[in-house]
Amino acid sequence: MGDLLLHAMTITKRFGGLTAVNAVELKIERGMIASLIGPNGAGKTTFFNCITGFYTPEEGRIMFNNRDIRGLRTDQIAHRGIARTYQNIRLFGAMTALENILVGMHIHLKATPIGSIFGFGHTRREEREALKEAYRLLEFVGLGDKGDLLASNLAYGFQRRLEVARALALKPQLLLLDEPTAGMNPQETDEMMEFIRNLRDKLNLTIFLIEHDMKLVMSISDQVSVMDYGTKISEGTPAYVQKDPAVIKAYLGSAPEEVLSEQA
């Protein structure tokens, strides 16, 4: 496979006496769709938060493009090329869909306050270009006609898509999706699956997602990692993980056939 984009080296994150993430080692190669699964409370989102700098892990290193990003601020990590979405959608509700995307483009814009006040030529050109690009992104996720609606007024499915579009506006190398299909019906989930695959194929993104929908995980992932009680218990291709007894035990502690039939 290709080169290594993200390498989390023995990351540990503790909250008081609780070790939420315990010496997790994880590699993601460029161009991959990687998934992180595990029962509720396994520490998946905490792991995400460690990568994006929202938490600083006590131990371990996070190599992104061969540079350690542990201890950087969230905004610095965004500059390095990591964007994310949230499990419970976190849009800027009082801003319009277009504005949400424009905020996502923040790091690629150079306008200074002085330039904006006096409306320098290059500032205005940049703003026009930004608007144009934001609109394209909005059309890309199928919200072309909803640009002026407040994000909080959008339907649930549209909010999910807008959140992805906002993350794409950062032009990231690595896109973290935290349960992108939460609350969706089977048909919407299928659409989302197609959408994620498109992102990788058309935009050459590397995607790392947390997901509970096993059908989606198993059909689009190149690599699946499984967490339970803060530790990584298994990793490999979907086929391998499905058969791993440790995974089955973590989920149900019983026969593999039952687990899979139930999850599908």
Partner: protein, 713 residues
């Protein structure tokens, strides 16, 4: 059919009326005459309250059979009336003064509707308040309440637009009536009519010409026609608008005094007279082709002119018939002008882009003209009120950057105002710094001595930028330690800052520099020397309310320009993103520290600018002026107006700074009204009177992407 809530609302309304009575507020309102000897503000408010109660009961039932809302409204208002009468009876029978200490000084007539009874039917012989408690008066009170219920119950059946028109007109009429005593104008009714005639003739002519033709007339031709019509009106005015015409047997008798504009002609400014009218005609000719905003603004402008003329003719007291005429004019204006605008939109806009730019030009031209001329119409007291409103609006716009955009609750905004004011005070006033090291006691020193001794003072224009910069820098520095704090914690810390600054300017330690409790005075009046008009030149002195007005206008324009441009830029988006969700904003790559400090800085700079001008207007700085209450006032107007919306903040300033000034009598109840209004607005419209409108960028974005051949589909 009769709802339980109807009774609840009736009781609630009575409770409010009773509470207000106990505060004695009605006594002061009674002295404030809307229409002399006919209608006091007291009466207006009681009518409004009873009417609104009926309306509130009827409105939710408006979709039922017509009788249902009516009956409910009547029952609610009747409940008020009956219980009120009961209370009056109680008041007369049992001396309740031992419970309600405040009743001691209260004149019972407001409680008995004394004023109201007089208004409804009986001749004004009932000057003795004791008579008002007579049985007849009480019955009339009940009848009045029932009538108000019927009216409000009927009102909900009308179209919403009609209700709005009538309500807005009524409120405006009362407001105009209240300020009519303050207008000290240079315009009379004939003046206003002459302008209105010039404008409408040109308007109608241009409209007729345009509708008859398929290809539009060239702009210059239209403008010339308008100007010509205006000139003709001026000529006519010169001939018939003489003093004689307005005398007892003249043709224009009854219109008041002769037009003042004629004086222009008499003083040899014939050209000016013709010019003004030609311009009016020109505007009238262009108006039908203008975009809606400019079109309507010009019509409203003419309407306002006529109303001003009417008020001035009415003199210092507004008679009933003038009030009715004004009410009618307002109804017609509010009802029809927007419709005319729609027509103008549909029929005449051919050159959309060019026409829009042009008409925006006209709009700004008219607006600038109004602003420039406005102080000439104002008396000193009105100018003072307006200055206060502009000051508050401007400070609100500054604070809005913190609260409305960045979502940082700042309770110590007065700190930046004080820093701005004191920077000007220290640099331009007498103190140890400017007076060559001599400590000054303002009580023991004359102006001459100050002028001799204090040679280190710089003039206002030098101090102003320094005040703004110093205020911005201090604001930023104060922001540094509190960056990690959010919400309530930040509010408490900033509250402390405000107090610290106030303590510093109060302190004896800095007395030689800042004057301690006495403050610093005199601060010289700002002047601008213009080297034009002869050898002496012209010296513009901003020494009184009508001239300081221009300073305030200048300052608020800067504040609006800066904050508006920032709000629609990358910076503004970052602010709003942080306000919405700080964590996510940071994950989008926004440097939250820098962004917040920017908000502190911009907001403090505007606060400093306001403080600097305030110091120059008052010609002194005293710590008394820069206390917590100042912060709270500004905060309240931002919240009431609508956080994050510049028009909202301006409206908030008009309401919160203007209304109490308008009701001068209210002064001692200002905080009561303030609190009541805050509660009401927050209950009814928690997002403020004019919440920010989301920017409409889609259309522009679509246009931008279209010409691209490779655009996505």
């Amino acid at each position: 059919m009769i709802k339980k809530s109807t009774f609840q609302r009736g009781i609630l309304a009575l409770g409010i009326i009773l509470l207000l009575t106990l505060t004695g507020i009605f006594n002061t309102f009674e002295r404030q005459q809307v229409i002399p000897d006919q209608l006091s503000l007291n009466t207006v408010i009681i009518i409004a309250m009873v009417g609104m109660t009926g309306y509130a009961c009827a409105y939710p039932l408006r979709n039922q059979k017509p009788l249902v809302p009516m009956v409910n409204a009547i029952i609610a208002t009747l409940a008020i009336g009956v219980m009120w009468v009961g209370l009056v009876w109680l008041y007369e029978t049992i001396d309740m003064r031992f419970i309600f200490q405040n009743l001691k000084g209260v004149n019972p007539s407001p409680l008995t509707f004394g004023e109201m009874i007089r208004f409804i039917a009986v001749p004004a012989t009932e000057t003795d308040p004791a008579l008002a408690v007579e049985l007849g008066g009480l019955v009339k009170l009940i009848i009045f309440c029932a009538m108000m219920g019927a009216v409000s119950g009927f009102a909900v059946l009308l179209s919403l637009r009609l209700q709005l028109i009538v309500a807005v007109s009524a409120v405006l009429t009362v407001v105009l009536a209240l300020i009519s005593t303050k207008i000290n104008g240079i315009i009379t009714l004939p003046d206003a009519l002459a302008f209105a005639i010039a404008f409408s003739l040109a308007y109608v002519a241009s409209w007729l010409i345009n509708t008859r033709r398929t290809d539009p007339l060239p702009q210059w031709l239209l403008m010339s026609i308008g100007a010509l019509i205006g000139a003709f009106v001026a000529l006519a005015l010169l001939f018939i608008g003489t003093e004689d015409a307005f005398k007892r047997d003249g043709i224009l008798r009854g219109l008041g005094t002769a037009p003042l504009i004629i004086d222009m002609g008499a003083r040899g400014l014939i050209g000016g007279l013709f010019g003004v009218f030609a311009l009016t005609g020109l505007a009238g000719a262009l108006a039908p082709k203008a975009e809606r905003l400019s079109h309507n603004t010009s019509l409203y402008f003419i309407l306002a002119l006529v109303i001003l003329g009417l008020l001035n003719t009415a003199g210092r007291k507004l008679p009933l018939e003038t009030a009715l005429i004004i009410f009618g004019l307002l109804v017609v204006g509010i009802a029809f002008i927007p419709t005319l605008g729609k027509k103008a939109d549909g029929q005449f806009i051919q050159l959309a882009q060019r026409g829009k730019l042009q008409s925006r030009g006209i709009f700004l031209f008219v607006l600038a003209g109004v602003v420039l001329v406005a102080p000439q119409f104002m008396g000193v007291s009105l100018a003072n009120n307006i200055n206060l409103i502009i000051l508050y609006a401007m400070l609100g716009i500054g604070l809005n950057v913190m609260i409305g955009y960045a979502g940082l609750l700042d309770l110590g905004f007065v700190a930046s105002i004080a820093i701005g004011a004191y920077t000007v005070g220290i640099l331009t006033g007498p103190n140890i710094l400017t007076c060559n090291g001599v400590a000054i006691n303002p009580n023991l020193i004359t102006l001459d001595e100050i002028n001799q001794l204090c040679t280190g003072r710089i003039d206002f224009w030098g101090a102003l930028p320094l005040a703004v910069i110093f205020s911005a820098v201090t604001g930023m520095l104060l922001g540094v330690p509190v960056l990690g704090l959010r919400g309530d914690y930040l509010a408490i810390v900033t509250l402390g800052f405000g107090e610290i600054i106030n303590r510093i300017i109060y302190s004896d330690k800095f007395k030689p520099l800042m004057g301690g409790a006495q403050g610093l005075s005199p601060i010289p009046v700002p002047e601008i020397f213009l080297p034009v008009g002869g050898e002496e030149g012209v010296n513009l002195v901003f020494g009184n309310a009508t001239s300081v007005f221009y300073l305030y206008i200048f300052a608020i324009l800067i504040a609006i320009f800066v904050t508006y441009r920032l709000s629609i830029s990358r910076q503004g988006r970052s602010w709003r993103a942080i306000r919405a969700d700080e964590d996510v904003a940071e994950a989008m790559g926004i440097h939250t520290v820098r962004t917040k400090l920017m908000a502190f800085m911009v907001s403090s700079a505007i606060g400093g600018l306001g403080g600097a001008i305030l110091a120059a207007q008052l010609q002194s700085v005293t710590p008394e002026n820069y206390k917590l209450a100042f912060s709270i006032n500004v905060l309240a107007l931002v919240i009431i107006g609508g956080m994050g919306s510049i028009p909202g903040v301006i409206l908030g300033a008009v309401v919160l700074a203007g209304l109490p000034e308008l009701l001068r009598e209210l002064e001692s109840y200002r905080l009561l009204a303030f609190g009541g209004l805050l509660v009401l607005v927050m209950l009814v419209k928690s997002e403020g009177l004019l919440p920010p409108a989301p920017p409409r960028l889609s259309e522009q974005a679509r246009l931008l992407t279209q010409p691209e051949p490779t655009g996505t589909d």
